[in-house]
Symmetry: C2
Subunit: 563 residues, 2 copies
């Protein structure tokens, strides 16, 4: 006798669970309930329909109900909402949102894949017409219609996370002026550390996106047919407002059924994705996962993990022994021509998890320097000081950032160390990489730290080191120096260093920098060999320092002679 499986939610996790169930069990009865009008739609594609990159709305419908019925013999019920679970009777109560009719459906197994809902912060005016969130196709329709009907020319986006920035880009692509208001001091705080975010921010401003950090919308008002967003620091006027300040797991149904929730507020599951009721599985954005790096519970709403979870729950329903090994949080966003990506934990997350780490930043070219069209890529690696194990990575660049973060995500999940990255053999030809791939360079820089060949400091440690008497040595060339210096630094090009050692006070604590950290590493080696015992390389060099400080100076007074 085969199972009857009910699935609540028909997008990423629910749809993949249903299809996998059918492939494993031709006889199972499979019903998918979807509250919204569409199953299995491209929710990651919605911002690109707003911007026009995906011109046809039909393209957002990845898998039609007809295909699910014909190919997978799945009973798809759109606009039908599961409102109650009777765990004892193994029944759910369903309301048909079209007819209002309510009925019961029993199950052998129930899979909860209700997803997450956009947070609506308690801002006065958040319910005004023209204030939107973006999560569904109807949301997308409403935004596009509003822009077209009102001929909106300005938009305010509240929240500089993934959705907020993707929509900001797409508003821009539609020709709207865009301002982004973010409570944190940077974009993408869930993924990037400050100095990496700063690189993205400089670029976004070059694309004409206005960014306001450390500000919260305190009120939205309608004034003369426009919306006015008041942050306390400023008033922003717009034809529409998008609120993208985060997601809330849809746990109402689970909670009312007495299923356990975890400390993060997501549905708690075991490693087989069973809830506290072994007949009920849960997958996707609604569940609490274990962060595979920290070992701690986390909410990580991503499409890839949701798909895998759906598949895995199906395996277990069919009697296989499949174990979910946690989520590392690999993510990427396109910002115009820039890619910004991350995997694992960032510095702030490692600190809050109490995990000791070291980090390194490099800015190599993504392809062989002599091959035309190569662009710089910025990579940050976070790793364990005890064994060099990779804990996280961040990448920003116009080309090849997606490749490097996927290599680093794979290495992280394999338990690789910085020494493994140093020797990793990747595919090289000049149009694609360098003989020493940026990932190798990252591994070498980190391995150098681990072996004690060089010590490093971050851009944010510089001030305190200098207050304590360290000398800042700039080993760039005179032409590079013309573009600006770090105040108080002494300039000696690396290629003159051996002849000019006499200019550097003996016994002095030194912080050395160049443009990116590569030549200053060589300078550090020379200085150590000639008797300076306390020598630090400035990680990421001038490029990281300049960008981070220039961005920070918008927030707090900070004097610098940056040009």
């Amino acid at each position: 006798m085969s199972n009857k499986v009910l699935i609540v939610g028909g997008v990423a996790g629910g749809a993949s669970c249903a299809a996998r169930l059918r492939r494993l069990d031709e006889k199972a009865e499979i019903v998918v309930f979807e509250r919204g009008p569409y199953v299995s739609f491209a929710n990651c594609g919605l911002p690109y329909h707003v911007g026009g990159a995906i011109p046809s709305r039909a393209n957002l419908l990845v898998v039609t109900p007809e295909l699910l019925r014909q190919r997978f013999r799945i009973d798809v019920r759109a606009r039908q909402e599961v409102r109650r679970i009777d765990r004892v009777k193994q029944q759910v109560e369903v309301t048909d949102l079209e007819s209002g009719r309510t009925y019961l459906e029993d199950y052998d197994y129930l899979v909860l894949a209700p997803g997450a809902a956009p947070l609506h912060p308690p801002i006065p005016g958040i319910a005004l017409p023209g204030v939107f969130t973006l999560r569904t196709i109807p949301d997308t329709d409403a935004i596009i219609n509003w822009i077209e009907d009102r001929q909106a020319s300005e938009a305010v986006v509240i929240g500089a996370g993934y959705i907020g920035l993707e929509v900001a880009e797409n508003f821009k692509q539609r020709g709207l002026a865009v301002s982004v208001v973010e409570r944190a001091e940077q974009v993408l705080p869930a993924s990037l550390d400050y100095e990496m975010a700063a690189l993205a921010q400089v670029y976004l401003k070059q694309q004409g996106v206005n960014l306001y950090f450390g500000e919260q919308a305190q009120e939205i008002k309608e004034v003369a047919g426009q919306l006015l967003v008041r942050t306390g620091q400023r008033n922003l006027t717009a034809g529409l407002v998008l609120v993208a300040v985060g997601l809330r797991p849809e746990t109402g149904l689970a909670r009312e059924a007495g299923l356990e929730l975890g400390p993060t507020g997501g549905i708690r599951t075991d490693s087989g994705l069973r809830t506290s009721d072994p007949r009920i599985f849960a997958v996707g954005d609604a569940i609490e996962v274990i962060n595979a790096v920290s070992g701690r519970p986390a909410l990580i709403p991503l499409a890839g993990p949701a798909n895998r979870q759906g598949r895995l729950a199906a395996d277990n329903i069919c009697g296989r022994q499949a174990t979910y090994q946690g989520t590392v949080g690999s993510s990427i966003i396109k910002l115009f021509d820039l890619a910004v990506a991350a995997t694992g934990l960032n510095a702030r997350q490692l600190q809050s998890a109490g995990i000791d780490y070291r980090s390194i930043i490099v800015h190599p070219l993504a392809t062989a320097g002599y091959y035309p069209g190569g662009s710089q890529i910025s990579l940050k690696l976070l790793f364990s000081p005890s064994d060099g194990r990779i804990l996280g990575a961040q990448a920003i660049g116009q080309d090849g950032a997606d490749k490097r973060i996927d290599v680093l995500a794979t290495a992280l999940q394999a338990g690789m160390t910085v020494y493994d990255l140093e020797r990793l053999e990747l595919a090289y030809a000049p149009p694609f990489s360098s003989a020493r791939d940026p990932v190798n360079l990252l591994g070498m820089a980190a391995s150098n730290l681990m072996r004690g060949d060089v010590a490093a400091v971050g851009w944010d440690e510089l001030d305190s080191l200098r207050k304590n008497g360290a000398l800042l040595l700039d080993v760039r060339t005179p032409s590079e120096v013309e573009a600006g210096i770090i105040p108080g630094s002494v300039q000696i090009p690396v290629d003159e260093l051996r002849h000019r050692l006499g200019e550097i006070p003996a016994g002095k604590r030194l912080v050395v920098h160049c443009a990116t950290g590569l030549r200053s590493y060589i300078a550090c080696r020379i200085l150590k060999a000639h008797g300076w015992s306390e020598v630090y390389n400035l990680s990421g060099g001038w490029r990281t320092y300049r960008t981070a400080v220039a961005e920070r100076s918008k927030l707090t007074p900070f004097t610098t002679d940056l040009k």
Copy 2:
């Protein structure tokens, strides 16, 4: 007392060894001897200077001798050849190729990085003016001058390996007509299996490159100011001929010094890259390495490994305990807008190493299907049937092939299995990937095989299966079927299969195919559930079959109604 280290060869391995030595030992005396006029030049960039993508010859000089002297205090001696090693006295005999002067130089450590030389097969006429190999900057100069002086409009390339195809593309970019003659039955036989090579071959022909397989140049003649290449099957006329049939490790110096060579003919080293004389290290294209997948000795002349070996030899000279863990052979080539890449071993290499394997081919889109501009990527995975460990991979595509092969190379080096690929969490957003990345799909397809959820056959097994009575079931849609069918196949679209099971003879052995292998997998699951016990999925589907058979039909008579 610091070491005096002599390095023979100043390109990839030698130059990286020298620079690393200096970073580790400020006091060492380091001398680099380079027979040619240039050290540390971009030898992987040479084809692109021929084609004009790298317009400036100066760009090929990656690191100048001045930089090596100033920044690294390395004594660079170009145009000086080490001709003899006296291992007892720890001396080398050097000839200054400019003055003819000969002198002795003693060493504490000697590093051999002489590289490899292009093979010159014993073809009558191979020494004629206008017949070239490409390995050095002077080679490049000579080729460009010849083309310009003679206004050459046609070229013959002998050899369809990496260099041959890169030069073929670049000749084409310069406007020359190009014919490639290759002894094997396919391009890139050292990397690709036949059906993957076939995809590249179809594309190359679309770009107007003439390809002749299974043919060898038997003679080159000068006829009326043109060169004529006679293969036995045809005569090809050209203004110039490039010979690129492989490399020969430069082992003369080592051999004469009595250093051991390995069975492949390369210099033998231990895992610390020491030759049979512990004072002498060897790195780069001249050495025999251990193939990390097969555990067998191999010649794998690649820039990335050469660089790492140079660095590693320096570590050991400086008293560190560094171990070279073998080479997996990750490689990539740009062919116009296509990328072709591989890592690990291919099927032929696994067979010859006596390693049992299974394989799978998929052809997914490189990015989300609904995002514009996505192109198909073809991936082949070879893995161990006992534990699913990755043994090799091949990738071909216009976008993202480099990324997928680097992820797979990382996974291979980490010892990952197909199950790890199935659950690998990569960074997803629609412009970069799919929620199920092509690497995940490859892992799923392979895991399905490993778990026995489906059985697979290759395109080249089809004929014998059908001779033994198997029925070929084509589950594509009618519109796909219009583009051509495999002769003798029965067409039932997957979405009609459940209603038309009566058309399929009970108990029949079945081979099922669709366009790529995805829908036919679903069909296989349906058929197995309905009682057919012997059901095989055609790996890579119509796309692999059609391409491989169409290519093969050029060689051996093979009737098909391919359109």
